[in-house]
Symmetry: D2
Subunit: 283 residues, 4 copies
Amino acid sequence: MYIDSFKKIVRQYKAVFFDAFGVLKNSSGMIPNIGDTFEYLKEHNIDFYVLTNDASRSPSQLASFYQRNGLHDITVDKIISSGMLARDYLRHKVKDGRVAYLGTKDSAVYLEAMDLITIPISKLDLQHRKTHEIRVLVLLDDEGFDWREDLNKTINLLRRTNVPVVVANTDKTYPVSDDEIAVAIGGIAGLIEHVVGKTFIRFGKPDAQIFNFAFQHINQNNNYVKDDVLMVGDTLHTDIIGGNKFGIDTALVLSGNTIPDQAEFYIKTTGIVPDFICESITS
Amino acid sequence: MYIDSFKKIVRQYKAVFFDAFGVLKNSSGMIPNIGDTFEYLKEHNIDFYVLTNDASRSPSQLASFYQRNGLHDITVDKIISSGMLARDYLRHKVKDGRVAYLGTKDSAVYLEAMDLITIPISKLDLQHRKTHEIRVLVLLDDEGFDWREDLNKTINLLRRTNVPVVVANTDKTYPVSDDEIAVAIGGIAGLIEHVVGKTFIRFGKPDAQIFNFAFQHINQNNNYVKDDVLMVGDTLHTDIIGGNKFGIDTALVLSGNTIPDQAEFYIKTTGIVPDFICESITS
Amino acid sequence: MYIDSFKKIVRQYKAVFFDAFGVLKNSSGMIPNIGDTFEYLKEHNIDFYVLTNDASRSPSQLASFYQRNGLHDITVDKIISSGMLARDYLRHKVKDGRVAYLGTKDSAVYLEAMDLITIPISKLDLQHRKTHEIRVLVLLDDEGFDWREDLNKTINLLRRTNVPVVVANTDKTYPVSDDEIAVAIGGIAGLIEHVVGKTFIRFGKPDAQIFNFAFQHINQNNNYVKDDVLMVGDTLHTDIIGGNKFGIDTALVLSGNTIPDQAEFYIKTTGIVPDFICESITS
Amino acid sequence: MYIDSFKKIVRQYKAVFFDAFGVLKNSSGMIPNIGDTFEYLKEHNIDFYVLTNDASRSPSQLASFYQRNGLHDITVDKIISSGMLARDYLRHKVKDGRVAYLGTKDSAVYLEAMDLITIPISKLDLQHRKTHEIRVLVLLDDEGFDWREDLNKTINLLRRTNVPVVVANTDKTYPVSDDEIAVAIGGIAGLIEHVVGKTFIRFGKPDAQIFNFAFQHINQNNNYVKDDVLMVGDTLHTDIIGGNKFGIDTALVLSGNTIPDQAEFYIKTTGIVPDFICESITS
């Protein structure tokens, strides 16, 4: 397995898409010396964006996190999240009525800015048949509700009404500390989908729609072609296969989900082959 | 679709396996006039057993329910539950150590009667590395624990230790009222299995092991062959396909999960064909 | 279930995406009186495109078919096929080496026009280790090879080399007469993927990438927004869910896969809800 | 990973179930020195049986193979195959009519001995509606038919008639040489099931029914309890999980599917833990 230097390979590109967790940060905070890499990108005029499966916070909240951690270059226009796609879906497909959701109040605020009326599943009254006002159900975050009560309520809602279900983050889990993970809303969505037998609408890597959304987003003020862009991620099944399929080059970093010892084995067994493998983006 | 009279067809058999929910009882209580059917079976010397995916209560607790509802013929020796198979597994494969579980305290009492030391996931200390004493994890019931906290804890336990996971009830959901269902422990098991990527050991219909266990159980004092036995159930995917595969005859009743209007359609699309279709066991 | 008139609803849009099979044609040939609908579109200045999961023929071959059948408006620039996406992938991700394929010689000709050297699996020599020259495997068509011999050969190729596999048509089956279907290359791809355990790259509806490709294609000379476009198809799981997710309006027609009697039932059980339901595009 | 000596551990048991491929034989022939192990078993009065997913040949044909290769102790009564379970199913559930099959003429002969009239899919006339005489479809072997023609015919048969489908070997692949595999009928069954959307009846490891059948078979003339029996196999997903669930002890051998280097990794990621790990049954 040949290991490339990130700084060496990145110079072949005009823009980079960075996955967030495992690439820019981990459960201990920011990846050490990451500021140097962003200096390096600036020096070489390489544009960058953060492409993240996250619907729990708005792009400006996500950007604030990086600002607070000293990465001042990561401004709100640099953030592309799966939550933005959920919002885009609602804009096009939901004209009136209410949007039911699972998630924190904060995660819903971002949707409310669109003049949609949101209601958490916990506040929904299944008995008095107000469910006909619901136009769509959006799964935003694994926090902010009682799992047992509200998942059962969600399942009964979906048996009574036939509304589309939007999953705004496809990840099954996320890390909460060095050696612990938690089930993400994408994992919970799988449980509900399996029980009710309906087909949900999922946004986030590896799905093509987020790559396409990102590509259009970065080309609002630029003129990049696919060969100009590199996707950098720590997960074969989301970042790398998604980037490969979209037609851009891909680099796997070993600073997150994919442990150096097992990278070669996983690449071989999954058939998901990155164009490059790097220790981290500081290498 | 030809509808048979249950009382007419049952006379061809020496013994009957009844599914519980949707056959003997529903969310309103016992199926009306069901006492007559049990009188009829007695008159015609037809033996019967209840074959149920239930690990939340012991066979004697399950029998008490029928006793309290006037079905005095349903004694503890007439009950065959998926919980009994989980117990059988533990007897053969777990000689010492502790058994971790998800479920109510009551559901664990049944296991404790075997001299195994049980510990609910909620009381397990992941940090102080007592997890090496755990020999098996048993999923018993959807009640008795905090879903969010304890499911996340379960997932982290399974990442640290490599113990077998036994699912003592394969059902995804169960009815809680006329028009509401709840996620059963079998549905929750699916979420955990999907997230950790391991293969669990599942007991309950349609799996052959419960049919075989039941067949051996009834032949402790009898000498039935497979052609003597009829499986009666309301669910194609558990009762009917399981009975068919085991080699016994099957009757679908329309008093539960399978709505009369859609029975023909579901039989056609699933390819699961019962030998008989009856309105209910009182028909 | 409310049935809309296609001609009435289509006037709200500036452009239409038509699925081919079940919408424009069926196993008996073109849908009767379909010429009138195309006249009607022209009169009302409504643009249209054919969006098809087909990699067995080039866009110009596909267009010729419609021309021969009297639909002279369907010219090559009106065709958007999943085969075009496979070609686009190869253009971006495969710079040299050989492309192995399953399919007819004809289906490969379309790829060859890109200066890639193609080789059918049947001509590949697994023994003499020429497999290292293969850069990608493309699944194009269910015809043109011996299934038993070449599928086994494909599986052994994928065990030896780690090349990406592109599936250029996601459909599992296609109709061959009024009452017969055949397994499509998408179905065969599922068998291979299941056996080798690798993740393939699939192009075609309902995947977002073909909708995005189509949207960019039609906007080379236009300036449509998503609200201007209607997707028309006969299949909930490809045309309708794909269109919904992409954010365009959708109309289900009952002239193909989805039988009028069962449309309401399937919409309810799948949770895939079209914006409109029409008898056919001639209604 | 602790490696046990097979000869040492086997002395704790009264009977052994051996998987065939990867345990007794491999693609080069019998495992070297295997005769000594059978001598050893005889000396120590340890009974043994061959438990194999194979429906392509009758038990007597399977026994002949071992006889010809010098293992004279493996007589027909020592063979337990998934084909025997398919035959048992037909005996109980199919009283008249015809049995359609995919497989060689030889594989069907074994079924014919039951007075059932068999017809290969290739000879079935879908057009003249003789399909109503078919009572069951049995998938026996991957050889003996034209895959493209007969699989498409099978799919159309299953769309027209609603007969149960029995899969008499659950294996997805089998080895044909040192470094080549072929798709087995269990893999083909997966393709058909996926395309027609029906639920098939599968016999063979890891399903409980073959273990139960074997246990009853060996107890016709013995009185073994589960603790007396050891399952020995080379595959975690069939031999080991199946034996574990059935409640008997299990030993993984490293002479077949599971490569020594990866055994520990696979045990950890699948959660399927054998009671013992041995180099081979000659160790």
